[in-house]
């Protein structure tokens, strides 16, 4: 008859809230914890890549394998921090920061032409030829005042995306 939420104390919840910059309410943290436990089938205290892929809706996402690099082996605090970019309370800056991290595969703070090409390949699969992809990307980069050899940093991403109506909001079901 125990309730899973009773396993989180008020202190735990507050600690997690601080860790994610108060992007989620206490009730949402409790819900996320239940979800975390559900996904953590091996009760390891972390969610493995395999366990994430067992959610079919996630597995069919074109970016799932790329996201998995950020997701593999997250513990609960990291799990919440990962999702905090999708909170309605997160700022646009935080959301763009998240998008930048998805692109920046080696984490050095610079996004190269190849990084962008990789993501575009994930999104379009075999439905655009490699050559065409390269053409399109070169073209739009030049149009925006960059070149094929430009290294884009976070502030470039902010400049490019801040007016494009980035909408990244996921509602945490609270019962």
């Amino acid at each position: 008859m125990g309730n899973t939420s009773s396993m989180l104390t008020q202190y735990d919840i507050e600690e997690v809230q601080q860790h994610c910059n108060h992007a989620f309410s206490q009730q949402e943290i409790v819900s996320l914890y239940q979800r975390f436990c559900q996904l953590d089938r091996n009760y390891g205290g972390f969610i493995s890549g395999e366990e994430f892929l067992s959610v079919p809706e996630f597995a069919v996402n074109p970016l799932s394998l790329r996201l998995l690099r950020m997701l593999d082996g997250l513990n609960f605090k990291e799990f919440v921090a990962f999702l905090s970019a999708f909170s309605p309370r997160a700022t646009l800056q935080e959301k763009i920061d998240f998008i930048f991290k998805v692109y920046d595969s080696d984490g050095n703070g610079k996004v190269t032409f190849d990084d962008m090409l990789d993501v575009l390949r994930d999104l379009t699969g075999s439905f655009i030829s490699a050559q065409q992809r390269e053409q399109v990307l070169t073209h739009v980069l030049e149009e925006a005042g960059y070149s094929k050899d430009s290294l884009l940093i976070l502030s470039d991403f902010v400049k490019i995306l801040e007016n494009s109506g980035v909408k990244m909001e996921v509602e945490v079901p609270v019962d």
Binding site: P56, E57, V60, L67, K95, V136, I160, N163
Partner: protein
């Protein structure tokens, strides 16, 4: 024996003609078609795809299908607590032994009649089948009685005639026993090892049950042939298929496998709802199993309808009657990954929109 099911097609070969998953999923990111040549920000903005991914991590319809819903605790109130304690004493020290005794008596009666009937009446096949049918119904009744099953059957009782197949939604092993108590159905189910396998190959074989092995692809054709032969026989027990192929909780239905719907038979839907909806019943759950069974209007393939569409139509009928939500997933995804086909669909949409906009000058 927990997963009677149907096996005809593997998940991968089904993907081509199955309903579109996008029709079911909430379209989290609205895809308004942008116009004009693509700009850098259009290509870099991956937020819709990311939102979908995060949405799936936070909550997804597939996992919900198999989540067991714990009954709401009602005993946390200090005044009810003594009452609950009495309940525990009664359930564990009075009801439980009685149930064990009932079940034991059931098995003794069953085995002491089944064994002689099975081995001594070898020459009189008709009589033997009839007796065995009755005995299987009997032992299932004992099972239901031992959990204090309160089962309400609605609609006409199934009849024995060729060219018909019964399909039911599947929540647990209990479904099978509840249906079997009324009518000795022949069921398609997963072959199990151990003592369950022994029961399968002796007792259940006698009512005409058919086994399959989910993991063996070769098995499929043999079973499909057995199925076809079975439905042709005039005196065979009615055939029961759980087309979901796996157990789903009592709030959802997953995709029906199409095998049952391409036999060219009349399909009789059976809806089963283990109803824990009313508060009073909820209180009873630990005391008894409360369940409704509806035998529904037989359906036939309409002209021009594919087996998949037919399966979906029958799933509709069952879901409405039993108050279940439909989800677009194949239950076998519990054992395997979704095919790349679904991902390719998303990729194709995106690629086409980029290409289209490139051509706009």
């Amino acid at each position: 024996m927990s997963s009677p099911g149907e096996l005809k097609s593997s998940s991968s070969e089904l993907d081509l003609d199955r309903p579109n998953i996008e029709d079911y999923l909430p379209s989290g990111a609205s895809i308004q078609e942008p116009h004009g040549k693509p700009r850098l920000r259009d290509l870099l903005d991956i937020s819709p795809t990311l939102t979908e991914a995060a949405g799936a991590i936070v909550d997804d319809s597939f996992t919900r299908c198999f989540k067991s819903n714990p009954p709401e605790p009602w005993n946390w109130n200090i005044y009810l607590f003594p009452l609950w304690c009495c309940g525990v004493v009664i359930r564990y020290f009075i009801l439980f032994p009685i149930r064990v005794i009932v079940l034991t008596i059931g098995w003794i009666i069953f085995l002491s009649s089944f064994i002689p009937v099975h081995f001594l009446l070898k020459g009189h096949d008709k009589l033997r089948t009839k007796l065995e049918r009755c005995l299987v119904e009997l032992i299932c009744s004992f099972f239901v009685a031992s959990w204090t099953g309160v089962v309400k059957y609605h609609g006409p009782r199934p009849s024995i005639r060729p060219k018909q197949v019964f399909v039911a939604n599947h929540t647990s092993m209990i479904d099978f026993i509840i249906l079997e108590q009324m009518t000795a159905f022949a069921v398609i189910m997963q072959k199990h090892p151990g003592w369950v396998g022994l029961l399968q190959s002796t007792i259940l074989e006698s009512v005409g049950c058919i086994w399959f092995n989910r993991t063996e692809a070769k098995d499929r054709e043999i079973v499909a042939k057995k199925l076809r032969d079975h439905v042709q026989g005039a005196d065979n027990n009615p055939l029961l298929i759980f087309p979901e192929g796996t157990c789903v909780n009592n709030h959802y239905t997953v995709m029906f496998k199409k095998g049952a719907f391409e036999l060219g038979c009349t399909v009789c839907p059976v809806a089963i709802k283990q109803s824990f909806t009313m508060h009073l019943l909820q209180l009873m759950t630990s005391w008894a199993v409360v369940c409704d069974v509806w035998y529904l209007e037989p359906q036939t393939l309409r002209p021009g309808e594919t087996p998949i569409e037919f399966a979906e139509r029958v799933r509709d009928i069952i879901s409405v009657r039993a108050g279940l939500k439909k989800v677009p997933w194949d239950g076998y995804l519990k054992y395997s990954r979704p095919s790349p086909k679904h991902r390719e669909g998303k990729q194709q949409n995106f690629a086409e929109s980029v290409l289209r906009r490139l051509e706009e000058k």
